[in-house]
Amino acid sequence: MSIRLENIQKHFGRSQALTPTNLHIDNGELIGLLGPSGSGKTTLLRIIAGLESPDAEVGPRILFGERDVTRVHVRDRRIGFVFQHYALFRHMSVFDNVAFGLTVLPRRSRPSSGEIRAQVYRLLEMVQLEHLAARYPAQLSGGQQQRVSLARALALKPEVLLLDEPFGALDAKVRQDLRRWLRHLHDELGFTSVFVTHDQEEALELSDRVVVMSNGRIEQVDTPDQLYRNPANRFVFEFLGDVNHMEGEVREGVLTCGDAKLHVELPEGHQEILLRPHEVTLSTSADEIAHLPAIVTSVVPVGAEIRVELTAEWMDQPWLATVRHQEASTLGLSRGKKVYARPLSWHHYPQGTSAAAQGAAQPA
């Protein structure tokens, strides 16, 4: 079921949690709402669910398919909601938790207890927890509780599944498994899902499209690939990964900052460029494009790459560079070694605008 949001705005007292927002989600999409805390992502999710109501004065509209649910109560919206800390009913067994939605149906549409039993076991089988049906939530691990809460949310066969930080409280391995499993479930059952996360890796890995938010505003909506390649503005760029900064005066096409110099095609004046760790290469000598001396302060192997931390007088914050193992050994990288950084490409966001410029440091 597609979801359309129009003019969704929310104030809590005097503080604005959400500026007027529009968003369209296609049928069957898996959407990640990504942003730092306080960006309004959870508020937006709760408004879609109906747990929070948008400010009425701007004329909000929430459509599920063709159905206008703006004024429909949560319990009649037919959504599945997975809460951040699972919110399982602590005094009920796993079975009763999953069965809850079915047992509170109005009598005429309520299945018989035999049917409920069969349906609950089918759901528990799906989340591979049928052997724990008699346990209480407190006796389960975090990952198991999360699966129970998913099974509970899916019991009424919702067409929209909403998840609030679904994997936030779990350790890395369990998280990875559950992500894959959720993606699988989503593809198999074909519902429309929206989940909230502050973890960019999770958003990029799991979503069909990512909605990046900050300060109650949507900054960009794009596929993970597009988002990473073409961030709409500086916020998105910085939020999606590690960033190195260089800030200084541009004169005659040379950005100067202390003893660091870089040829750039930017207007005269104070400018800042940004680059990702993988856009930095290291060498033992400077060239006519870049003269960026630095000292290696740490060399950490991370999987297939080596992460090198660099400091220098001209940097506000240490730079990060990722290089291949072979390259590292050729250069003889070790702590305290003097190297020269060379940008392969860089990004520039003029201040006060969201237009992006990008440059590539081509050899002259």
Partner: protein, 275 residues
């Protein structure tokens, strides 16, 4: 190795001070009550307790308590629900107002009720012209008892419901649960022990309340005399044994309350260990 403050003499002097204090101030009076009540033997005690006016006093106390508990139960749950589940202007103020009956002396409470609902009172005058008498009758006693005990249930529930949050209720609503089903199946099971605890405290106070009740009761023997008032009346009549027999009844109720409270706390702590 010895911890700081764990020296032998510190330990023993603290323990003996605590024991001596509890014996002198808590245990001895309790023993004295029963000793006095049974001073003239078991049969005198029975005779005193089954005396006509004493039975009437017991009856009134039980009636008032039985009526107070459901009222405060409903009020306490509604108030705790309101304060912990909704945000509205004046919520803080309301939370403070709940404590008024704790802060105020019961005698003052009794006087205020007398001023409002007495024959010459603001509301009492109107009631009187319609032939309704609240003060110096059992409804007045019930009213002040409800006032004095009104914070107990809410006070027990509010911190618990605040700590538990409303997530489970929200979850139940997304699954389609409505008003009373929601309360019965999700909220109530989570607060039942605190609720019972609040009821036990309400019960203890309702049975034993003296100050507020004495102002509005008028202490008419056989009509508006509660058990605590009866104790005082008997004592003033120089019927010491009779006074202590009734006092012993009150003390027994108090002991039962304590036992129930201890049992409950033990159960809850066991449940927490299991969880």
């Amino acid at each position: 190795m010895q911890r700081i403050g764990d020296a032998r003499w510190v330990r023993y002097s603290l323990i003996s001070a605590a024991v001596a204090f509890s014996a002198l101030f808590l245990l001895l009076p309790l023993v004295a009550i029963f000793a006095q009540a049974f001073a003239s033997g078991w049969s005198t005690f029975i005779a005193n307790v089954t005396e006509h006016y004493t039975l009437a006093a017991i009856g009134l106390t039980v009636l008032v308590t039985i009526l107070t508990i459901p009222v405060n139960l409903a009020f306490g749950v509604a108030l705790a629900w309101l304060v912990t589940r909704f945000a509205f202007p004046g919520r803080r103020l309301l939370q403070t107002l709940i404590d008024i009956p704790f802060a105020i002396s019961p005698v003052v409470a009794g006087l205020v009720y007398l001023m409002l609902y007495g024959r010459n009172g603001w509301i009492g005058g109107w009631l009187d012209s319609h032939d309704i008498q609240l003060m110096f009758a059992w409804p007045g006693i019930l009213m002040v008892t409800i006032f004095v005990t009104s914070p107990f249930v809410a006070r027990e529930l509010i911190p618990l419901m605040q700590a538990q949050g409303s997530r489970e209720e929200e979850a139940a609503v997304t699954l389609g649960a409505k008003g009373f089903t929601l309360f019965r199946r999700v909220t109530l099971p989570n607060i039942r022990w605190a609720l019972l605890y609040g009821v036990i405290l309400t019960n203890a106070r309702a049975v034993g309340e003296f100050g507020a009740v004495s102002v509005v009761s008028g202490a008419i023997r056989g009509e508006t005399n509660t058990l605590p008032l009866h104790v005082q009346l008997l004592y003033q009549d120089y019927n010491t044994v009779g006074a202590f027999a009734s006092a012993a009844l009150l003390a027994l109720i108090a002991l039962f309350t304590l036992a129930a409270k201890a049992l409950l706390e033990w159960r809850v702590s066991r449940q927490e260990v299991a969880a």
